[in-house]
């Protein structure tokens, strides 16, 4: 349905920008928007981000100009000017970032002239045009990061040859953002790399400020973070590589090799990978009996955003040994990206490749499944989708019920799990995913 998107599994670019800023240390977002935007985003997090809402300055505590009908007629610049002034008086932060909503974007308020005035007074303040009609929350992440790269990140720093920045994991859209960033960090630290993850408890604003000194940006996504990485490249000359979100041993090993190669590291990467594999499989070892006795291998349906759809499908094929039959991407993606992604989900004989569909409407999944498993004249010897497992969002529980499958929420919206430090990246993250999948599969045992 190109005229509408069913239960969009993201919010708007303002929401994505706000969530990104809420996750940055010591950062005060300033919304130049209508009164309800902050609340809508808080509720969206409340219902979809694994019970996490806001952060240091988030939820209903974010400063917002709350423009009204009068501002729509006369312009909201004066109101913004006043709001920034009082925010600086009252809110305790190191960095202030003004982001716009639909209303102020349509009426054409020149926010940059206002922030320029404050910047001239020595305030660390950044402006980003994020009006919600520009796109979804993933775009908002890229818009606001790109503006930070241009307006806040320091220029002309000496290069740190073994430092990388991680991009592509979007706070709150990925409920596991903290665990996933830490997982990626721990993984790359194994090969002696210093890692900036910007948003975790181990990061400071200085990491962001000095991030232009990094030798490489590592975008752990096929789509998210790419614009920000391009901005780094254009503005600060930091090159970037793209990789699949590294969930489990195979993808993690590939990432280690790719980063070591891009940085020309003098490290025995294969030895590091061997050691990580040794530890991973020591954990897995005692599962050998029950995994087989209980017949825990499944057919899988994956319905997710770009990061998880690729990473989980590959993990199931390459590491766990399940058989994904359908992978549905719920993001809006252009044809070129669709082709690149489809190529990533190819399999070698005799593993059947999953049917790959790009459709924002997840209730259509049952139609795709029915096409794969058409009704048979006699069902005595029919091929059926059993035993099956659905990996997606909490909205895909109804599909799992309909086809008699197990279910795990890993992608937005996640209303039925509490997520704090958990993550699925790295070798260790692969173990967590095995635990969660199998726990769901044996919940009634």
């Amino acid at each position: 349905m190109s005229n509408s998107i069913e239960r969009p599994r993201y919010y708007c670019s303002l929401g994505g920008a706000l969530s990104t800023l809420e996750a940055l240390p010591d950062t005060i977002p300033i919304l130049h928007a209508a009164v309800g935007c902050a609340g809508s985003i808080a509720w969206a997090q409340n219902g979809g981000s694994g019970l996490q809402v806001g952060g240091y300055c988030g939820g209903l505590a974010v400063p917002s100009s709350n423009v009204s009908e009068r501002d729509v007629v006369f312009g909201g610049v004066d109101r913004l000017h006043e709001q920034i002034g009082t925010t600086l008086e009252l809110m305790d932060g190191e960095l202030y970032v003004v982001i716009t909503g639909c209303v102020t974007e349509i009426i054409g308020d020149d926010i940059r002239s206002v922030t320029a005035e404050y910047r001239a007074q020595g305030v660390d303040i950044v402006a980003a045009n994020t009006g919600g009609f520009k796109g979804n929350s993933y775009l908002g992440y890229d818009i606001v990061l790109s503006e930070l790269v241009k307006q806040y990140v320091a220029y002309d720093l000496p290069k740190a040859p073994k430092t990388v920045n991680i991009l592509g994991i979007v706070p709150y859209m990925d409920a596991f953002w903290r665990g996933n960033l830490i997982g990626a960090r721990r993984l790359l630290e194994k090969i002696g790399v210093t890692v900036n993850t910007f948003f975790t408890n181990e990061d400071t604003l200085d990491n962001l400020k000095n991030s232009s000194s990094a030798a490489l940006n590592v975008v752990l996504s096929d789509v998210y973070g790419v614009d920000a990485a391009r901005t780094y490249e254009e503005v600060h000359g930091v090159p970037f590589i793209q990789a699949t979100l590294p969930v489990g041993p195979t993808a993690s090993a590939e990432l280690l090799r790719a980063v070591a190669s891009a940085l020309n590291l003098d490290v025995d990467v294969e030895a590091v990978i061997d050691e990580e594999n040794r530890q991973y499989f020591r954990y897995l070892e005692p599962l050998a009996d029950v995994y087989n006795d209980a017949d825990l291998q499944k057919y899988a349906v994956v319905i997710a955003d770009v990061n998880y759809a690729v990473a989980v499908t590959r993990f199931l094929i390459d590491d766990l040994g399940w058989l994904p039959v359908l992978t549905q991407f719920t993001d809006v993606l252009d044809e070129e990206t669709q082709e690149i992604i489809t190529a990533k989900l190819r399999t070698d004989d005799p593993i059947p490749a999953p049917k790959v569909v790009f459709d924002t409407n997840a209730t259509e999944a049952i139609r795709y499944i029915n096409e794969l498993y058409p009704k048979q004249e006699s069902d005595k010897y029919a091929e059926t989708l059993t035993p099956a497992f659905v990996i997606g969002s909490s909205l895909d529980r109804s599909l799992a019920t309909k086809i008699g499958a197990g279910h795990l929420s890993v992608t937005y919206p996640i209303s039925n799990r509490a997520v704090l430090s958990r993550g699925y990246t790295g070798f260790a993250g692969g173990l967590s995913l095995v635990e969660d999948l199998l726990s769901a599969a044996v919940a009634a045992r």
């Binding site: 509408s4 998107i5 993201y10 919600g132």
Partner: protein, 517 residues
């Protein structure tokens, strides 16, 4: 003129003179409430993000079975539905239905739509939704963007209506147009009254027996409409229904989880009953004007005394006062016995409350009856309906009690809580983290999965508050290791520093709040 003849509802600032900015004492607000219906509204030179009418609007619409909610706007506007969906799922299960998710779609307006208009997109989205989901109703929630670019949403709906089988309900929720999100209730009721109250086509029996008219009259005399606010869940609905059944009444619960095919029935009830005066006046007046359904709209059945007078008011209208007195006597004796063990524990503990005005005030009176001392109240807006509740509160508390009217604005709350240091805090959904980070035991003031209303609500709330106070380790521990995003000197300033006009902050305010400590 009937409300169904106008396109959009009036914002509540204009219709009721509702306001969102005030800081002062109980005595002042009660006094001003007496003299004029409302306060003159002010503005803040610093403000924090809040909610708009879209949120309470969609929270009702998402519960309606066999409805598709079309958010006509940018892609994020319907996103709160992800949270509200939990209520839709559990509410269905509680009512004995299969678990099901709300259905909503977004027209996901982009830059091209902003420039060229999005009427065609909306038209097609309505047709698509009708084909794909076969809903009974399609509610079209119009948001800020179509409001500014000037889409004729009602015109599109009129054109699309003849093409689809669902009834299309326009709900205007342009967030920038009103500061008072309670306007949402009017907007939802307006849309439903306009499009969803038609009688079924083949309702009249072909053969009417001799007692037909008598039976219709009997039905009417024994059926009431119970208006369920979206913040009350099934537990509260069944509790209130229990009293109405005891008064020999059948109940049409409306609008939450109301079947669109049966909505018309509320036109034929003998009485409409509000559970929250701020919520319902718009529709109740319409039902009286157009369909001669009288209404009761004065008290909210939160707390023992309020529940008693809520029942008495209804019983009086039904001519069943004697039955009501027997019910009240039996219920209150039983409840008081059950509560006795909690009184010593709660006695003298100081509580701060923050919520929608009527709910906040009614809950304050309830907590007073449980033995708490009221230390401060924040209400999200102020309107004339609450004056009766302020009067009750004056009897129960110090007239210097701090009253703050704010559409959330947790910075004022942080300042007040830091000064007043209450033993307990009750706040709105997504409004408890300020108190929590200050280490104050806190409890949500509404949650559609929990009981708050009527006699059972008093007991269940007491049980939950006991639990919170018995072990507040979560909040206490969090407060030791986290902090609020305000500068240290904020806590030394007058909490209403950023209220810049309209409202006079009394000069002796700080002394007064010292006194009330």
């Amino acid at each position: 003129m009937s409300i169904t003849e106008v396109r959009e509802v009036q914002k509540r600032e204009d219709r009721l003179g509702a306001c969102i900015v005030y800081g002062g004492s109980l005595c002042d607000i009660a006094d001003k409430g007496k003299k004029c219906a409302c306060l003159e509204d002010g503005e803040r030179s610093f403000s924090q993000g809040s909610i708009c009418l879209l949120l309470p609007g969609s929270s009702i619409l998402n519960t309606i079975p066999d409805n598709v909610n079309i958010f006509h706007g940018a892609i994020g506007c319907g996103a709160p539905s992800h949270s509200q969906n939990a209520n839709t799922r559990s509410g269905n299960v509680q009512r004995g239905n299969a678990v099901r998710d709300a259905i909503w779609v977004s027209t996901a307006l982009n830059e091209t739509d902003v420039i060229s208009g999005a009427e065609t997109k909306l038209y097609n989205a309505i047709l698509d939704a009708d084909k794909l989901y076969r809903p009974k109703t399609i509610t079209v929630v119009a948001t800020c963007v179509p409001g500014i670019i000037g889409d004729d949403v009602d015109g599109v709906i009129e054109r699309a209506q003849s093409e689809v089988s669902a009834r299309i309900v326009p709900v205007h929720c342009e967030g920038f147009k009103t500061k008072i999100w309670a306007t949402a209730y009017d907007a939802v009721y307006h849309g439903l009254a306009k499009s969803a109250f038609d009688d079924p086509r083949f309702d009249d029996p072909i053969i009417k027996d001799d007692l037909y008219n008598e039976r219709i009259a009997y039905e009417r005399a024994h059926t009431v409409n119970l208006f369920s606010v979206s913040s009350m869940g099934y537990a509260d609905e069944t509790e209130l229904t229990r009293y109405l059944n005891a008064l020999d009444q059948k109940v049409n619960a409306f609008p939450n989880f109301a079947n669109p095919d049966e909505m018309y029935k509320i036109k034929y009830a003998g009485l409409s009953i509000s559970t929250c005066p701020t919520h319902d006046d718009y529709l109740l007046k319409h039902l009286e004007d157009e369909y001669n359904v009288p209404y009761v709209l004065k008290h909210m059945p939160i707390g023992i005394e309020n529940t008693n007078i809520w029942i008495r008011d209804i019983a009086e209208r039904l001519g069943k006062s004697a039955m009501a007195e027997r019910l009240i006597a039996r219920e209150t004796v039983e409840l008081e016995e059950a509560l006795a063990k909690y009184h010593p524990f709660f006695k003298g503990k100081r509580v701060f409350i923050s919520a929608g005005e009527f709910r906040a005030l009614a809950t304050a009176n309830l907590l007073h009856d449980l033995g708490f001392e009221i230390a401060g109240i924040r209400s999200f807006h102020h309107d004339e309906f609450a004056n009766v509740e302020y009067e009750k509160l004056l009897k129960n508390t110090d007239e210097n009690l701090v009253i703050n009217i704010a559409n959330c604005q947790p910075f004022e709350e942080a300042n007040l809580l830091n000064t007043i240091k209450p033993d307990l805090f009750l706040g709105h959904w997504n409004g408890n983290s300020t108190a929590t980070k200050l280490g104050i035991p806190s409890h949500v003031i509404y949650n559609s999965g929990l009981a708050y209303l009527g006699y059972r609500g008093v007991f269940e709330l007491a049980r939950r508050l006991y639990r919170q106070l018995a072990n507040p380790a979560f909040n206490r521990n969090l407060s030791r290791h986290t902090r609020l995003p305000y500068k240290a000197d904020w806590y030394d300033k007058n909490p209403f520093t950023y209220i810049k006009s309209g409202i006079e902050v009394p000069e002796d305010f700080e002394e007064r709040s010292e006194v009330s400590k």
